[in-house]
Symmetry: C2
Subunit: 761 residues, 2 copies
């Protein structure tokens, strides 16, 4: 969008030079501010008559809308603002607007907006807005408004406060009833005022009984009157003054937010009120400085620097920005929803997206954040055990959609009960986290237990088939969700086998490393001596459907019965197949929604020969319609491995700016988290060719023609490495951490020592 107009002159910013009502909802998603703890969509705080969802969300704050199902709650809007100048309402649709500009500065996560407003009588006023959610102190938000009467002196009134009358728009998958039901999740607990311009509102979620308190105080360094406004679930101050032509009036609103979910918080109201004085006491400059400094630290770890394409550079930063914003790094009872903190779509639930698409970014840039995401799953192991036992199965079965308590939040059986690969995906996350971090404490105390319980699930969910001479897994749905429900999806079967092997290895590791830890584990989950052997046996005999030649892995047992279809014709108009054909058809025609076997070949990279990868690529690519934000990234990575460089870059470009350029119709319902994470993998695992091969971090870079260089950092087993890819060669430098580390660059083993680099041409 915006960036086209700016010709990419600044790779740190997203700039919107014109406000478009048509894309206002998508822009709200793009311009979301968040700090992991909470997020606010980029809505216009002063209101206006255009599509808007003034959404404010907090990680982990869910509430039931019926007995079994929850939604991510839209919490009170602490940016609520109404403006009038000389008695006329000021917003983007109430007068003539010029000099509009909205800038997301990703370097320090601030949103600034300005416009000139001319009312019906010709009075011109300039307004400038700013907001940020502190990354230094996640309970603090700051909002700023500067008003400049250009050609008039008038009375200005600003209502600034907290609007708790917000509701949730229930997110159905059925388009017939989507967006129709409004759910009201909040009851007022208390509200009040303090000081000259302060106020607070505390609400509680109706079913989960989470109290959320917000306090605000407005500072205005000029004479004004102030009146308190209190309504049901609403508290604000009306500031009024006689403004003079040419004057500049700056209001700063400090907000502090706490909830009863916060560790150690008994009274959210008390904490919010107390905390507010800290922020306001520090003052705007200092709060911003600390916030900026926190973001500087983040970028030092996770920025990717691309020379040669400002467009790609900006896109990659945009992706990283939202990944960081949306993750509740310090809260291991919350995970990341498919739209992060930018929208409630999919009810904010964690899917496999977290472990397969997003987790690698955190593993390699912020391992503690990755651990926190895995701990979220660990805490919900009890619910997963319960689910498995309800299905008469051993171990633990994770839900397809997971919110606050680990109960299944998906209401469609074909996904909830059949897309069971989620359990193996989570185990994969545990395995890969450990492989990259070597976090033994995690493995001994938590990881091994997760791997064992998930392996037990697979050991009972599969069974030996005499006909197929292998272990089979019936009634599943693989990543290609356009398939109906099938048996022996290769992805599911092989990821399950990987889960079983990883569990056997983990048991061995804990037994050898930590004898007391092992005894604890055995006692806690009644681990028997013979279990690991059983898992290895099942993994070794897991059935995978292959064609008669043996090289082509068949996606699932029913795949070849589907009707051949004109896939190119279907894709020609750019609209997803599901918008054009009923599901009853999608299920029975030979098209693939997104990488399935191809994704498997990326994830379990070392388990396949190059011939198998080629055979799959040749067979499946022409059938794949890429109707998911998860597809192109995976294809780009595998394309690079197979040497299809140009194609890979094309695929990269297709998703790099997916949300930023509003290429996909549903950015109005938030940015696509899995795609953000997938893009990071496309750059690092794709263009830099990073893999772990036989325990060594290895790189096999290939720069796109458009790029001159690619620089990024990865953390690996306690060390931080700087990877510098140029046409002239690749340089790996140890920038943090002790001791030499061996890496492989283009197949050559090199040792990276402190302060030194390992350059391979």
């Amino acid at each position: 969008m915006a960036s086209r107009a700016r010709k990419f002159d600044d790779t740190w910013c997203v700039v919107e030079e014109r406000f478009r009502q048509k894309s206002s909802l998508a822009a709200e998603s793009i311009f979301t501010m968040a700090n992991g703890y909470m997020g606010v969509r980029g809505f216009m705080e002063e209101g206006g008559d255009f599509p808007s969802e003034a959404g404010t969300y907090m990680s982990g704050v869910f509430d039931n809308y019926d007995k079994h199902y929850v939604d991510l709650v839209n919490v009170p809007n602490f940016l609520f603002t109404r403006i009038s100048v000389g008695g006329e309402v000021v917003n983007l649709t109430s007068g003539r607007i010029s000099c509009y500009r909205r800038v997301l500065d990703m370097r320090n996560a601030t949103l600034r907006r300005q416009f000139r407003f001319v009312d019906s009588t010709g009075r011109a006023t300039e307004l400038a807005f700013e907001r940020f959610l502190s990354m230094d102190d996640v309970h603090t938000a700051v909002q700023r408004l500067v008003v400049r009467p250009i050609n008039h002196s008038s009375k200005i009134e600003i209502v600034a406060g907290i609007d708790g009358t917000v509701t949730n728009i229930r997110q159905f998958d059925n388009p017939l009833i989507r967006d129709i039901i409004l759910d009201d999740h909040l009851d007022e607990v208390k509200k009040g005022a303090f000081g000259r311009n302060g106020g607070y509102l505390s609400v509680v979620t109706k079913h989960t009984a989470i109290e959320i308190a917000q306090a605000f105080s407005v500072e205005a360094g000029f004479g004004h009157s102030s009146r308190l406004i209190k309504r049901k679930r609403f508290v604000a101050r009306r500031l009024a003054w006689e403004a003079e032509r040419g004057g500049e009036y700056c209001l700063t609103k400090y907000v502090s937010v706490f909830s009863s979910r916060d560790r150690g918080v008994k009274s959210p109201v008390d904490r919010a009120l107390k905390h507010l004085s800290v922020a306001s006491g520090r003052g705007y400059e200092e709060v911003l400085r600390r916030h900026t400094s926190a973001w500087a630290g983040i970028w030092e770890d996770c920025d990717i620097v691309i020379k040669g394409s400002a467009s790609d550079q900006q896109a990659v930063r945009f992706n990283i920005y939202h990944l960081v914003c949306g993750n509740s790094r310090d809260d291991d009872r919350a995970s990341i929803g498919p739209r992060l903190l930018t929208h409630t779509r999919y009810k904010g639930c964690a899917f496999w997206d977290v472990e397969i698409f997003m987790l690698p970014f955190f593993i390699y840039t912020d391992p503690m954040a990755a651990r926190s995401l895995l701990m979220y799953r660990y805490h919900l192991l009890g619910a997963a055990r319960k689910r498995a036992s309800e299905g008469h199965l051993d171990g633990a079965q994770y839900p397809w959609m997971s919110a606050n308590d680990g109960s299944e939040q998906c209401q469609a059986w074909a996904y909830a009960d059949c897309e069971i690969h989620i359990t193996a995906d989570i185990a994969y996350g545990v395995e890969r986290y450990f492989l990259a971090t070597g976090d033994e404490d995690f493995m001994v105390r938590y990881g091994a237990e997760m791997l064992v319980e998930t392996a037990r699930y697979w050991a009972t969910r599969s069974h030996y088939s005499e006909e197929k001479r292998g272990y089979v897994i019936p009634v599943v749905k693989g990543p290609d969700e356009y398939c109906g429900v099938t048996s022996n999806n290769a992805f599911t079967n092989m990821m399950a086998a990987n889960n079983l092997r990883a569990a056997a290895k983990a048991v061995e590791f804990v037994r050898e490393k930590d004898a007391p830890g092992f005894r604890r584990l055995c006692r806690k989950i009644r681990l028997r001596d013979d279990e690991a052997a059983t898992w290895r046996k099942i993994a070794g005999k897991m059935y995978v459907n292959r064609d008669s030649g043996g090289e082509l892995i068949i996606q699932d047992d029913n795949f070849l019965d589907t009707t051949p279809w004109d896939v190119k014709g279907l894709m020609s108009d750019g609209r997803p197949a599901a918008d054009k054909l009923p599901y009853s058809m999608l299920h029975r025609i030979r098209i693939i929604k997104q990488a399935d076997v191809i994704l498997l070949m990326y994830l379990l990279n070392e388990r396949f020969t190059r011939e198998e990868k080629f055979a799959a690529w040749k067979f499946y690519l022409p059938l794949t319609v890429h109707d998911s934000s998860l597809s192109y990234n995976t294809h780009a990575i595998v394309a690079l491995e197979l040497g299809f460089h140009k194609l890979a870059y094309d695929f990269f470009r297709k998703t790099a700016r997916l949300d930023l350029d509003i290429k996909i119709g549903n950015t109005d319902k938030g940015v696509h988290a899995a795609s953000l994470g997938g893009l990071w993998q496309t750059v690092v695992n794709g263009f830099a060719g990073m893999r772990i091969r036989k325990g060594l971090l290895s790189f096999d870079p290939h720069l796109p023609k458009a790029w001159r260089s690619l620089v990024f950092h990865v953390r690996f087993r306690g060390r931080k490495l700087r990877v510098d890819v140029k046409r002239s060669g690749t340089n790996v430098v140890l920038v943090e951490g002790d001791g030499p580390v061996k890496v492989r660059v283009r197949g050559n083993k090199v040792t990276v020592k402190p302060g030194s680099g390992a350059a391979i041409r």
Copy 2:
């Protein structure tokens, strides 16, 4: 229930000697009165404090509860009655009750009820109720109430009228939300009074705009006062009089019902008012006489006389009674719901139950009723064409659940989109109707078109698989609904092949029989010369999964991947598996809900060798849990064919009294229509062994030990035959129709001539 208490002393009645609140809803279903046009559940018209659904339904009267889905409407309750004696309310829970008795007389479809009521002051009153819905004139209902004060003289008040404030209880399949939402489908059009004790109410359905008018008039041959009561959607008369000890006070209420759906009815109110005077003019005795005479005619055609077991005799009559009651014989725009006119469960929609389980009863006892049921499908061919074309398929695809307009009324894709055998089942009904009736007019004008359009559907829904060397049909669900979604369900594939063959035959038939008719058909549906050959080719090469030996037909491509399970253990407590295990499990364990391959072998009887039938029986029976009212009947018929006579009778007994003895938990939601039809087939096609073999009607009877004889009538190609099965031999007599007819009895071909019989020992 009741019948146990009565020791089956009357095989024409169902008697309840004690009112049980616990089973009051089920009893309401059992005691339903209906005449095909309308039905009323057997609720207590005077009210009372116990579970009750005062349901009144009319065939074909549906209304939307959202944009896409409809429900069978609960129309105004014209039996509404309230009674007070000496100021005290009289009903079954407001005083002491004795001498209770409720009798359904199936011979003339009347419901009589009596009890003695003693109030708190010791006043005893006897009450007797009677109701029937005329079968002679389906717009007429009669209700009678006789009150006898035994030991007191008191003022008696009776409120009698029409209650239009009724609502629908929405029938969800999800138990979590079942029975919670009340839908109000009716708006008042007008109401009023006439004569001394008359009143009328007219309402209209909110979306489908069907006007329903009911008029009533109460006759009381004794002095009384009468007051009109009018409220919103409610009109009644309050009759009051000073009753004397020992007196007998009889009130007769005539009701007439019309709707704007009725052919030729412009103003339902005018028609109802005019019509009412006809009924009341005839008087109670005459209206009852005509009704009784109509039922006598029905029983002459469709009664089955069993000597030796009063219990079986009563059960069989009960089944036939409800089948006749629930079918809107003269309205070919309506079909039969799974609970007939006894409840709105499954929203009153037509399923495959109609063609596969109920249609044979009508084909052989009342061919015009069968034709009407098929015409219902013919009229909805347009909607089926639309559905097929939405799925990019040729021809016509019938919905899994069909109500008023042929749109899909099932909301779950695994059924709506996958249980596609419904289309072949309807074609099977057409084929079998024609085979039995020889109705050439129907075939030329309607049947051939249906067969062609459904065949075209299959020709595109299947496709040739090089791997399987046959035509495959992916993404389906067979009759065994405990399977998930699968491919190449043998039932679906072979019924589709049958559909294709039947279409080819029909085209040939019409071409030869009726040249102008054939030209009309070709023009109308653009029939091409080469189509029939294509259908025959596909049918001939339809893939059916078989074990390596070749004799065992495998239910579907995923069946052998399911996990073996302890089926006996699962069945041991008598509760259905779905109440004990989640569907995610049912889908992946090796259990079968109901006859699937076994049903196929009954329906396409001649297509299988005896060895194939035995192999299937041996393999599938131990896996089948019979969790559907459709399963035992089919198994009984096939058991008889295979010579398992005792087992067959056991199976027969399991379903014969399914509803009557409230053996199944959900009789509260209506009697099970498919089971009723299945029972008729068990007797006629099972115990009498009736088949059509090479065009000849054939019998291969086997009387259960408990039976001395079995007598029934069947209509076949314009003739009516009486079949008399005794231990000493089987006698077939031509009782109606011209010309001799050949039948086969125990394999011997015999000619049945007018007035003669064909007896085979």
